[in-house]
Symmetry: C2
DNA sequence: CTGAAAGCGCTTACAG
DNA sequence: CTGAAAGCGCTTACAG
């Protein structure tokens, strides 16, 4: 382990070896043209003095910071923590570090303030769990920085997105409830204007329609927009017996509230979530849930970003087309 | 929203305003001595051209990157995701961005390889969920970079740590089990050499000892080191009726396995975890758990780091002394 | 109150 | 194959 005194720079290595700063840099970056002898001298000196490159200086000159910005909104939901974990580790393996940017509870969209702090770091790429605000789309494109929306459809923005087939997922949830004999179905979403949320709802509605049922507008709730107690009250009063929730966290919240009202999931009604966070947390399989295959999902996201970073324009088949969501049954449906 | 063409630098603002680069910089950094008139001209030009500072260049010259490195091991466990989320948002508020470094499944300790990549980013501070390997302690201290170990005791390393009173937590778990009439107690830890894990075990052992019982060595397991099936088998065969687990995730895993063996938590045996992840995820309260007060915990961690960053040496009272863990009862104990 | 110069630590052309 | 010079975009002394 080398001794760390003051900061050691290329100049120190150059002096130590009697070479020029330039040559030392070339060796360390494995640029062509240097002798084995020089290489060994440089490596020895670096080890002895404990040289560590300054990526800030390197990035300033070369134009590449070897950095990816990750824009997120909620790390607590295990779906995000799990996928972020996989994605960031893949980036690290490839020599990229991740700089994290949260919307800090401002808005669910990428706004100019957020983009400013992102751009100030000059990342080589941006992977976002957030969708851009309307007026940010052009701005982001003009920046020229490779940009990937993860977990959302990029098409509406003309951007690259890696997403799952959410409508199919909603359909699976609906078909499951119907096949288990549930009859009065409700949907509990998050926000009415989140596309993923709407796609799941759309899939559910389609499944119901195909079975001669209707997803009644009065039984579509957005938990972040409506009064929670009112919603629970309405679900109980209207005799809802099947609920599809936008994700597992919401499904837990809802089933907890219904339990307080004396209704037990799986017995008195059925509830289905999304994401299969139980598997991520190695929890008992309480909830029935729709699993998009999160590991492959995250890896697809990382791969698309890494592809862009290495200049590849080769279009790999969309995750949505190659991976279909599937149902994982728990005790929350009969 | 300013148009983004090519990258706009201070030089562009200087040309636009007819001022020197120097003066522009001074205005943007709010250094003393400039007229209101100059200030307005600069701000107008920046807005018009869409100027965004280059923090890499700024950091290189000034020596401060306004960056904090966060070293983590596991983001999926909600305890980490939750505290990381709070901590990173606090840093962002104060103008620091977070660069994430995982051990990438190498070792549970900070090793030289990890520190190399951290130092290459020249962070102003390092907040670590990982403990340093033995031979890294001096290296880290010599680096002169403010360093905070979060969730672990720093004392053994002579470093600054923000941690909870884990022994007290273990005691609380043990006392709860005893008070509910459980008699044959086991402990399921993670690794035998993780201090937090041992402290919880120690507290549990102390609670048992004070009640004339013993935590038998054969009923102390480390789930990452032993065969899982063997452990479950032994727990069943020896008629263990009370289990304290190192954390909630482990408690879920164990109770799932016991359920497969026909044993129901709360009825046939009691199990207690740590961290109260159920509250973070807004899940039903299945597990009885010891809660360290994670929000205040995370904030204390952020505050200690921010204190160091602003050069404050003022010793605030340790989180461990001001906040005691408490029990949150769930259905997993009677 | 403002500006010209130097320099942070690298990498990139360009010579030799 | 190696080196001297320039420059990435800032901020920091130092003059005026």
């Amino acid at each position: 382990m080398p001794e760390t005194k003051k900061k050691v720079t290329l100049k120190d290595i150059a002096e130590k070896t009697g070479l020029s700063v330039n040559t030392v840099s070339r060796v360390l970056n494995k640029k062509p043209y240097y002798t084995k002898e020089v290489e060994e001298k440089v490596n020895a000196a670096c080890k002895e003095l404990g040289y560590i490159v300054d990526m800030n200086a390197s990035g300033l000159r070369s134009g590449s910071t070897r950095t990816v910005a990750i824009l997120y909104d909620d790390l607590v939901n295990p779906f995000y923590a799990y996928t972020t974990d996989i994605i960031s580790k893949r980036f690290e393996e490839k020599g990229y570090n991740c700089i994290m940017f949260s919307n800090n509870d401002r808005s669910p969209y990428i706004d100019y303030e957020l983009m400013r702090s992102v751009m100030a770091r000059k990342p080589d790429g941006i992977l976002s769990f957030l969708e851009p605000a309307e007026d940010m789309v052009e701005f982001i494109k003009n920046s020229g920085i490779p940009f990937v929306i993860f977990g959302r459809d990029g098409a509406p923005y003309g951007m690259i997105g890696v997403d799952a087939d959410e409508e199919c997922g909603g359909r699976i949830a609906g078909e499951h409830l119907l096949s288990r004999g549930y009859r009065k179905i409700a949907y509990v979403g998050s926000w009415h204007d989140v596309k993923v949320c709407l796609d799941r709802q759309k899939g559910l509605a389609a499944a119901l329609a195909e079975n001669g049922k209707e997803l009644s507008p009065e039984h579509i709730f957005y938990i972040r927009e409506c009064d929670f107690a009112d919603m629970i009250e309405k679900i109980v009063r209207d005799g809802i017996d099947g609920i599809v929730c936008y994700n597992d966290v919401i499904a837990f919240v809802v089933s907890e509230a219904l339990e307080e009202r004396g209704l037990e999931a799986g017995l008195d009604y059925g509830v289905v979530g999304f994401d299969n966070i139980q598997q991520m947390l190695k929890m008992p399989r309480f909830l029935t849930t729709v699993d998009a295959g999160s590991q492959a999902f995250a890896e697809a996201g990382a791969n698309v970003m890494l592809g862009l970073l290495s200049g590849g324009e080769e279009q790999m088949p969309a995750f949505r087309d190659t991976h279909k969501p599937f149902l994982v049954k728990g005790r929350s449906t009969r």
